[in-house]
């Protein structure tokens, strides 16, 4: 009899909910009970609310058991879960879970499915097909496909990836670089991490394709230090790719050289800003550079450089494999393809939801998120990280589309969605925006360096009822100053959440608002 495959995710969210202990317990019980389990540590499907999500492969079908604790393991064995036995926590075949099958998995399709550290498993699931196709079709075809797909930067700025790649490809230089921005610091975001932990070879392949397309032979992943598991996974994957000839000189005999180095950040949010990231990669203090010159022309060490987010890059292989038209066929208006939305905060079913653009916030929060975890009404939703606007409940029907969000003074950013219920004090959240900026500002430009601290103080004065009207006006002017005069988006967008609170939740600034609770 063949061994029974049991999958236990090794992904940070699952691990934080006990997946490692569950895996150990399964191994223990397996041995004790004389079963014959092949334990596989897969990545995560992204349904974080179901973690640890344990799967058993029965006749080629993977049966899922959700929210498994160590204490459940013996019971699972007893219930015959190795043959898909019934149990309270049995969810049925994983590929029939609504939360998952209703998504438009384009970029994250291998996540959860494969063993992230097995290059064979990766290759068995279309791995490196797109890179081989790129070698066959040529760089120009890749550049054209990326441009035709309408893919835009998923780090937050939404700049057309095709234009960026074309600019670097056209630049003449003795050295070019691919840099992958994996400094995923926005509150409520985790899509980069899930991808790196669940499909690291996918990112490696994507960077190699980018390198091939633009003529770069060296890539860097700039990873935030708060992702130790992703760090380990990536290091092992890079080594494995090198050992099997998918990185290094003359990849698979193609004549193309490409290698990747992994660089750990040092805990600075602003290093997710592309120019600060380049400074940091160069070994300098992570402060923002002015633009132009664009990094595409004078980036890392002054050379033409692609700076792409993890998800932007990882979207490319399927654009090559399945065609740009298919990708461009998804989404709405100028927002093509899919985005990996991340549901977090006060939400019942948090996790990663890759959907085509055009889905509404309400659909995401209610249909996927299942409403608030507290069961209380939604008061506000912050989209796009700590610099994103707070969107009130009445605006939740707006479709997720870069331009539509800009119209309402918000932004999609990296797709993080943080839900707050009606107990949230929005004045405190406005203050937090300033406080966050004060903590994370690189300190280079004055509006951000001093303005954020003054913003915090001014909001305190308003909340405390000190010269409320004057300080209210001053806060509005400060927002104008930071937005109009800051060097980068850090100071320039900190006013977004503040303004949204002033616009939609001004009553929370009343002196009594704090006292009510």
């Amino acid at each position: 009899m063949a061994r029974t495959r049991v999958y236990v995710p090794r992904e940070t969210a699952a691990v934080s909910m006990g997946a490692d202990e569950v895996a150990l317990e399964i191994a223990r019980v397996n041995k004790a009970s004389g079963s014959d389990v092949e334990l596989i540590r897969n990545g995560s499907w992204g349904a974080s609310w179901l973690e640890p999500l344990v799967e058993v492969e029965v006749n080629g079908v993977r049966i899922a058991y959700g929210n498994i604790a160590v204490d459940d393991v013996q019971g699972l064995f007893d219930a015959g879960f190795l043959s898909g036995g019934e149990h309270d926590k049995r969810l049925g075949p994983v590929n029939e879970i609504d939360y998952l099958i209703s998504q438009d998995r384009w970029t994250f399709w291998r996540c959860g499915l494969i063993n992230p550290l097995s290059i064979d498993d990766f290759i068995a699931h279309q791995g490196f097909k797109a890179l081989e196709k790129s070698f066959a079709d040529g760089a120009e075809a890749v550049l054209q496909a990326v441009a035709d797909s309408g893919l835009r930067g998923r780090g937050g700025a939404g700049f057309p990836t095709g234009i960026k790649w074309r600019t670097v490809a056209n630049a003449e230089a003795d050295q070019k670089y691919i840099t992958c921005n994996a400094d995923e610091g926005d509150s409520g975001t985790f899509s980069d991490r899930i991808l790196m932990e669940s499909d690291p070879f996918g990112l490696i392949e994507s960077m190699a394709i980018a390198g091939f397309a633009v003529g770069a032979t060296k890539g860097y992943i700039y990873l935030r230090s708060e992702y130790p598991l992703a760090h380990k996974v990536l290091l092992r994957a890079i080594t494995a790719a090198r050992e099997s000839g998918w990185l290094g000189e003359n990849i698979q005999g193609s004549g193309f050289d490409f290698d990747i180095d992994l660089h750990l950040g040092a805990g600075s949010y602003v290093c997710g800003e592309e120019t600060a990231m380049l400074e940091s990669l160069e070994g300098k203090k992570g402060i923002v550079r002015y633009k132009p010159p664009l990094p595409a022309l004078e980036g890392l060490f002054g050379k033409p450089t692609i700076v792409n987010n993890v998800v932007s890059l990882a979207s490319v292989p399927n654009i090559i494999n399945l065609g740009a038209e298919r990708y461009a066929g998804m989404g709405v208006n100028r927002s093509k393809g899919t985005l990996a939305f991340q549901l977090a905060g006060n939400v019942k079913r948090g996790g990663l939801v890759e959907k085509s653009f055009g889905v509404t916030l309400r659909e995401l929060i209610e249909e996927y998120g299942g409403g608030t975890a507290s069961g209380r009404p939604v008061k506000a939703v912050q989209v796009g990280g700590p610099l994103g606007a707070y969107i009130p409940e009445e605006e939740l029907d707006v479709a997720l589309d870069y331009e539509a969000f800009i119209e309402i003074g918000a932004m999609i950013g990296h797709g993080g969605i943080v839900v707050f219920d009606d107990t949230a004090n929005m004045a405190q959240l406005a203050r937090f925006a300033m406080e966050f900026c004060a903590i994370e500002s690189c300190g280079k430009c004055t509006p951000c360096r001093i303005g954020s601290t003054r913003g915090m103080e001014t909001i305190d004065k308003i909340i405390n009822g000190q010269e409320r009207e004057e300080n209210y006006d001053l806060l509005v002017e400060l927002c104008d100053t930071m937005e109009g005069a800051s060097l980068c988006a850090m100071g320039g967008m900190t006013p977004y959440p503040v303004r949204s609170v002033l616009k939609y939740f001004a009553e929370d600034f009343a002196p009594s608002a704090g006292a009510q609770r």
Binding site: Y290, G443, T446, I450, D480, T481, A485
Partner: protein, 944 residues
């Protein structure tokens, strides 16, 4: 705005070519392509507000005061980092911009002390100016919020303070330290609101890597980094542009004055040699000019054991003339002579040599270049045809490979070193040939490609080995040699250079280096598009100094590296006017412009002008003077601004010579070591009192302008003139300008030079005449001055000075950044903070073997004498080599050095002395005697 502040165009000049048309506030303007909006606007007369931008630094974009509106663009781009584009319509003043700027300024002031009236920058503060410009009237945030008002003052540096409470975190200081100085000593520590300027990692300025060049102080827009002299005295009320009197870089400064008191020296941005940069000496160490040690009254004494007697000028001059005439009468016409100084102006030098030739009626004139760069003059004249370097300093910005030999620019030519470092950071490669690990071998963002750690005395075999590889591997620029050089000499040189003893393998044994390093260095230099050679006294002060200079010229010619920007053979001159002193005819065998005294035609020209007959025989060189003195044939000497007793080698011999003279006249600021043997002391003037010109290492003639009258009552050229008159020669100038007019009239390479012309154009590089009306930055462009470049064979003759069992180590000497030469000036300033005494660098292996401990006294003995000084154990020197400086007279470094000298010019071999070292407990006998003599011979009688 303060009257002395220099115009600031905000960002550096664009290097792009062509122009674009833009519209600034509705007015059309044609501006340089590639300019920033800020620069374009400022050049068009529109001053966009700014704080973090300054035209000596790359744009940074942090203050956000310079935001503008550009038609068709959203937002408010910062003008300091937004380039102009053709057709751009720019608005620099709108209601929205006014509000943004005022609100940003309000943020600044919410974290800034409101003590403008009592602030040291009051009246010269860009923050204050901008607050005024944007009309800030109120700080609505109040002053109760978080702030840095209690941040401490760091006053550790003797010359400037750092008041963190006034810092606006514009990073100008940090960027100046990086971009201008290249030391990278400063950083911004922390982030966000906690960002603060920090020297090193939380060190104070004095303990940090800071070299006190003043670039940060110069860049600071507020009172945060402020000269202590301004803190003490307040703002200057006027300024005078003049030239620094320290090294051969010749930095232009503005002396910032309050009445006739200097309160600050700041580097002048339009200075062609320094482009607004400075070092710790020129920027700060000018206090010696008013030091209490300075002698203000002439003094005489019959006997050097007598105390000095102060007298009036007339008596001193008559006494001098009388004594000289008596000596000549008794011992003959040639029994007296004079020494000109590289520290004084050309005009002062010229009259001294004229006094000797026309007044003393002999050619016994020499100059301190004898002991530094005389081989440069000889070697470059022989090979190329001119006794001077071939390039302007700016040429280094076009070079690809620098071959740096026997020079330590970061210590001795710091401002040029900064420019060199900038070029190295841009990617030029560096080869260092030096027994010591000098700063440029490895420093932040700089690393030499090759360091040839040769043994002292082996320059010639090393240059031969480099040439050997270049010839052998076909790296000679054959076409250049064919077109421009003397082919017969080239062939002979080639045969010589290919001899087996000049192969890298053989030379490696002689020089104690690795053969492969020599080969790699040769390949790098030989394949460079633009290869340049820079060198210092580590080349010249050897018994083969002239050979080595010619060896470098050979190499430069063979590789086609002379005659355009980015190449050349470049002597780094030690003193401010060593080039000029040589140009002015200070050598016993040459009249002004390097024309031999035996030349009938030249002599006649001078004779007609001077109304005397000139001796056609060359006079004594300095060492000949000493020898003649010891032989009883040379009895009187007029020494202007040079301390022969301290600076010349083999002190015992020099002292014996002086002791045998009957009238030694010293003209100087201080009672120097030579003055201890003098009978007449004539107080000199500091550079702040001089009217004249200095010529720097790039042949640039810079004006020296008096900022105050002569403090001792008389211009130095007048002193010389009056001695001439008293001796019966009618020298009769009414101004320094007239002296230069005479130089120009009699010297073809100076024909178009005059004070008036220099005042109009700033400075020129000679030759400056009808062929080159605006001077000659790069020499030998189409052909060599001598016609065909001459290759000279450079066989290696080792020095007689050898190590043996008794003296197993080689001593070499050099300089330190904060001290200057014999230290007469810098020792009388706060520069002593950094380097109060000469120390001996010893390799750990040599120290270990002898039980020498770091910081403890060691005796240093040569065949000539012995001294005691403190040891520093360091790997900067290689095993077998020890190193010291000669900045302090009481150390007596030259007690050790020998009388060996360059075969062609007698330039002393300071760089190679065989020595032994041992732990010591007290001063040497010479040092004891020195202290005794200092007490006795420096006495000044109480005035009655």
């Amino acid at each position: 705005m303060n009257k002395t502040r220099q115009r600031d165009l905000g960002t550096p000049v664009s290097t792009a070519s062509g122009t674009v048309r833009v519209e600034i506030d509705g007015l059309p303007a044609t501006v340089k392509a590639g300019s920033t909006i800020m620069r374009a606007a400022r050049e068009s007369g529109v001053d966009i507000p700014k704080l973090c931008a300054t035209d000596s630094l790359k744009p940074f974009g942090s203050c956000r005061m310079c935001v503008v509106e550009v038609e068709g663009r959203k937002g408010y781009p910062a003008s300091c980092h937004t380039p102009v584009e053709d057709g751009m319509q720019i608005r620099t003043q709108t209601d929205a911009l006014a509000k943004l700027r005022r609100n940003v300024m309000e943020l600044y002031i919410s974290d800034h002390p409101l003590d403008c009236l009592t602030c040291s920058a009051n009246g010269d503060c860009e923050l204050q100016d901008m607050a005024g410009a944007v009309g800030l009237r109120d700080v609505r945030y109040g002053f109760d919020g978080a702030n840095h008002l209690d941040a401490p003052v760091d006053a550790s540096n003797p010359y400037f303070q750092f008041d963190a409470s006034k810092c606006i975190v514009c990073s100008r200081c940090v960027r100046a330290c990086d971009e201008v100085q290249g030391t990278f000593a400063l950083t911004i520590q922390g982030r966000g609101f906690e960002s603060k300027v920090s020297a090193g990692i939380g060190e104070d300025f004095l303990d940090s890597e800071c070299v006190s060049c003043g670039a940060c102080v110069q860049a600071c827009p507020t009172a945060t980094l402020m000269e202590k002299s301004i803190v003490d005295h307040g703002m200057p009320d006027h300024k005078v542009i003049t030239t620094c009197a320290y090294c051969g870089v010749g930095c232009s400064f503005q002396a910032e004055m309050k009445g006739d008191q200097v309160v600050r020296m700041t580097p002048w941005k339009d200075g062609e040699a320094n482009h607004g940069h400075s070092c710790v000496k020129g920027r700060f160490a000018w206090g010696y000019a008013s030091h209490r040690d300075r002698i203000m009254k002439p003094m005489i004494r019959d006997n050097t054991d007598d105390p000095w007697r102060e007298v009036e000028w007339d008596e001193a001059i008559q006494y001098t003339a009388k004594r000289f005439l008596e000596i000549q009468e008794q011992y003959g016409r040639k029994s007296i002579g004079g020494i000109t100084s590289s520290r004084t102006t050309n005009e002062e030098v010229y009259v001294v040599q004229k006094l000797v030739r026309a007044g003393f009626k002999n050619n016994n004139v020499d100059t301190c270049a004898r002991v530094c760069h005389s081989p440069t003059g000889y070697g470059l004249k022989t090979t190329l045809g001119t006794s001077a370097g071939t390039q302007p300093f700016d040429s280094v910005m076009d070079t690809d490979v620098i071959l740096l030999i026997g020079a330590n620019p970061t210590a001795a030519h710091p401002v040029f070193a900064s420019q060199m470092k900038r070029r190295l950071r841009e990617g030029a490669k560096l080869i260092v040939v030096d027994p010591r690990k000098i700063g440029l071998v490895r420093s932040p963002h700089i690393e030499a490609e090759h360091h040839v750690t040769l043994s002292p005395g082996t320059n010639v075999p090393v240059i031969n080995a480099l040439a050997h590889t270049i010839v052998k591997e076909g790296l000679v620029d054959e076409q250049y040699v064919k077109e421009r050089c003397d082919l017969e000499s080239f062939e002979a040189w080639k045969d010589m250079i290919l001899k087996p003893e000049n192969s890298p393998e053989e030379v490696a044994k002689v020089a104690g280096v690795d053969a492969q390093t020599l080969i790699d260095a040769a390949r790098l230099f030989g394949s460079a598009n633009n290869g340049s050679i820079y060198y210092g006294l580590g080349v010249t002060e050897h018994s083969q100094g002239s050979t080595m200079v010619m060896g470098m010229a050979n190499l430069a010619m063979a590789t086609g590296n002379i005659g355009r920007s980015g190449v050349g053979v470049n002597p780094l001159r030690g003193q401010n006017n060593v080039q000029g002193a040589c140009d002015m005819g200070s050598f016993p065998h040459e009249l002004a412009g390097y024309r031999h005294i035996s030349g009938e035609e030249v002599r006649t020209e001078f004779e007609n002008h001077w109304g005397v007959t000139i001796d056609p025989e060359p006079g004594y060189r300095i060492p000949n003077m000493f020898d003649a003195a010891c032989a009883g044939e040379y009895k009187g000497m007029y020494i202007q601004g040079e301390d022969l007793a301290q600076s010349d080698p083999n002190t015992h011999h020099v002292e014996a010579a002086f002791s045998s003279m009957e009238c030694v006249v010293v003209q100087d600021l201080f009672l120097n070591e030579t003055a201890k043997f003098a009978h007449v002391f004539l107080p000199g003037t500091s550079f702040l009192e001089k009217d004249g010109t200095f010529i720097n290492a790039e042949r640039r003639i810079n004006r020296v302008r008096p900022v105050m009258p002569p403090q001792q009552g008389k211009d130095e050229w007048r002193i010389t003139q009056e001695i001439a008159q008293a001796m019966g020669y009618n020298m009769n100038y009414s101004s320094a300008a007239e002296i230069m007019d005479e130089v120009a009239e009699l010297t073809p390479t100076f024909r178009n030079v005059s004070f008036k012309f220099l005042d109009e154009v700033g400075s020129v590089q000679w030759p400056c005449n009808d062929d080159a009306p605006m001077g000659t930055p790069v020499m030998h462009i189409d052909q060599f001055v001598r016609g065909k470049g001459l290759f000279v064979e450079t066989d290696y003759e080792p020095t007689e000075e050898r190590t043996n069992r008794k003296f197993p180590l080689l001593l070499t000497t050099g300089r330190i950044l904060s001290q200057y030469n014999v230290g007469a000036q810098t020792r009388r300033t706060e520069n002593n903070t950094w380097y109060p005494e000469d120390i001996l660098e010893v390799h750990p292996a040599d120290a270990e073997m002898r039980g020498i401990q770091d910081g403890k006294l060691v005796s240093l003995a040569s065949r000539k004498g012995d001294i005691t000084l403190r040891a520093k154990i360091t790997e900067r020197v290689k095993p077998g080599v020890v190193y010291t400086t000669f900045h302090n007279p009481e150390t007596g470094a030259n007690v050790i050095t020998t009388e060996y000298s360059d075969w062609a010019t007698n330039c002393p071999e300071y760089k190679v002395t065989a020595v032994q070292i041992a732990p010591a407990e007290h001063r040497s006998a010479w040092q004891e005697a020195f202290a005794e003599r200092a007490k006795k011979q420096g006495r000044i009688a109480e005035t009655t």
